[in-house]
Amino acid sequence: MAPVSTKRPTYYEELRGKGYTRRDFMKFCTMMAAYLGLEASGTAQIAKMLMKTPRVPVIWLHFQECTCCSESFIRSSHPIVADIILDKLSLDYTETLMAASGHQAEEAMHQTMKDHYGEYILCVEGSVPTAEGGVYCCIGGKTAEQILQETAAGAKAIICWGSCASNGCVQAAKPNPTSATPIHKLVKGKPIIKVPGCPPIGEVMAGVLVHIITFGTLPELDRVGRPKAFYSKRVHDSCYRRPFYDAGLFVESFDDENAKKGYCLYKVGCKGPMTYNACGIMRWNSGVSYPIQSGHGCFGCSEENFWDNGPIYRQQASFPGFGIESSADKIGMAAAGATAAGIIGHAIATNIQKKKLIANVIREGKESEKEL
């Protein structure tokens, strides 16, 4: 990869060079403004910024992950998204998509880090294994954590793509043998934005990047660091099956009559009521569908610890310490049963141990009755 030239073209210039018309460009800006939930004037703002801002250098690291975030990203619906972000956002280093490899690639990354110290955006896909000195993920002779710390030092902001980087995801599930650690636990003192999901929605990823490029600031984040525009509502809040939920009409098993009628998937394990994401609104694959629309409950991929929080196909609370397969209700009922048995035992013992006392009370009462 050629080192970045000192006079960088703007996004707009690059797009025109690629053969996009101004009309295509404006459509793209409109779409992005809509995704970001901006008011109508936002479109013009985005267009203006993309016309005058030179491309922002981006380093995109891959650690413990499956690359589903990248896959989701390059499929985000508008072709310009892929073009602008992949080619023009200047992905100076990303293992999956860059042309260079080996020393050349390392070179490009270090060049970007040097030339744009304090300016580049660091995108991280995957968690960082910290067990055994980090041996579980090494690239070019360095551990994931070393690479992360080096690149984070000069980053303007860090974007954590997906649940791996945001909360650890599958590889952090108990017993977490590699000590897979999300980024915010390793890097301090940098603006960090989490875009959880397994993977996150491509358009959401594009939206986050476009926001940073156009406004030069991070989008508004919630308390955990997720962009509010996409993570402030539960999947359940925008679910088109919600009327069935409110009516109490549920799919009991995936092959029953209720499933055919499109009833609510709560009883077959839908975690929509606990999951904060935009799937119900943005949907997937250019808005074609999303899990619930395809008849499968949401399993909460964007929530912290979703693997360890009960079975996927049932709605089941579990007692801590008993393992996720033990239902809280079974243990609770056993406890209530044991209590009842204990009470019966206690009642019998009372009548034996306190015989005199009880007899006195009863006699006193009866004699008084007779005396009247």
């Binding site: 539960r234 809280a328 609770g332 009370v361």
Partner: protein, 245 residues
């Protein structure tokens, strides 16, 4: 105790006003709210399978169950807050001092009660007018459970409500690591309430049966009845905790 049949030997009972009206109202509102919350909460976690031919738009069963849960939740919460307040302004049997062990005597009495009422070690009664120390301490634990249930409940509710009050609890989910965990805690805690209720009701009957001092009715009229002799002792502060047989 005396075994003669002459009525003159029977101990005179003296009426003591123990539970003030606000305490009694609190108690029954609380009981009602807990029953409703446990029943509707259980259904929210395990909805019944209903087959129906009617259109979803004509039905609102689950919505109603949830509405009852939330309505009862508000009653439960504010009633609880009221009780905390009353712990500072109510009579001595309502005071917070009955619940939180602050001195050695409190622990001694707890041990006494355990021996007499639970392990049935001694054939005599434990004499206390309001809550005995063990019961008081267990109520203290239930207050903590109330708190857990209110905080987790309103934490879940924050996502469904637009009222600022519920939104005060948005931090809870993030604090415990998401709504999944929150729901789990909330569900598991229900069983504490159920087990507590079973034991509580049993012990009320136990005291009424063994001691004959009007334990059950005390939460109705507010009166308990204690022996004149025990009354004197309590007043003098002599052997205030147990009366020997």
């Amino acid at each position: 105790m005396t075994t003669t049949t002459s009525s003159a030997d029977y101990k005179k009972l003296r009426r003591v006003f123990v539970w003030e009206l606000p305490v009694r109202v609190y108690h029954w509102l609380n009981a009602l709210a807990i029953v409703v919350l446990c029943a509707t909460g259980y259904l929210i976690g395990n909805p019944p399978a209903l087959m129906s031919q009617s259109e979803a738009s004509f039905r609102y069963l689950f919505g109603t169950i949830r509405f009852l849960h939330f309505a009862a939740a508000y009653i439960f919460f504010f009633n609880f807050l009221f009780r905390l307040y009353w712990g500072f302004v109510g009579n001595k049997y309502a005071s917070w001092k009955n619940f939180i062990p602050t001195n050695k005597e409190f622990f001694q009495e707890m041990w006494e009660v355990l021996k007499i009422d639970i392990l049935l070690k001694k054939e005599r009664e434990h004499m206390s007018v309001g809550h005995n120390a063990l019961a008081g301490f267990i109520y203290f634990l239930t207050f903590i459970a109330f708190l857990v249930q209110c905080v987790t409940g309103f934490g879940l509710y924050a996502a469904m409500s637009t009222w600022w009050f519920a939104e005060l609890f948005v931090w809870v989910a993030d604090w415990v690591g998401g709504d999944f965990t929150l729901r789990n805690i909330h569900h598991v805690a229900m069983w504490f309430f159920i087990v507590f209720a079973i034991i509580h009701v049993y012990l009320v009957f136990y005291h009424d049966y063994v001691e004959g001092r009007g334990e059950i009715s005390s939460m109705g009229g507010g009166w308990k009845f204690i022996e004149e002799e025990a009354f004197e002792k309590q007043r003098e502060g002599v052997d205030a905790y147990t009366n020997t047989d």
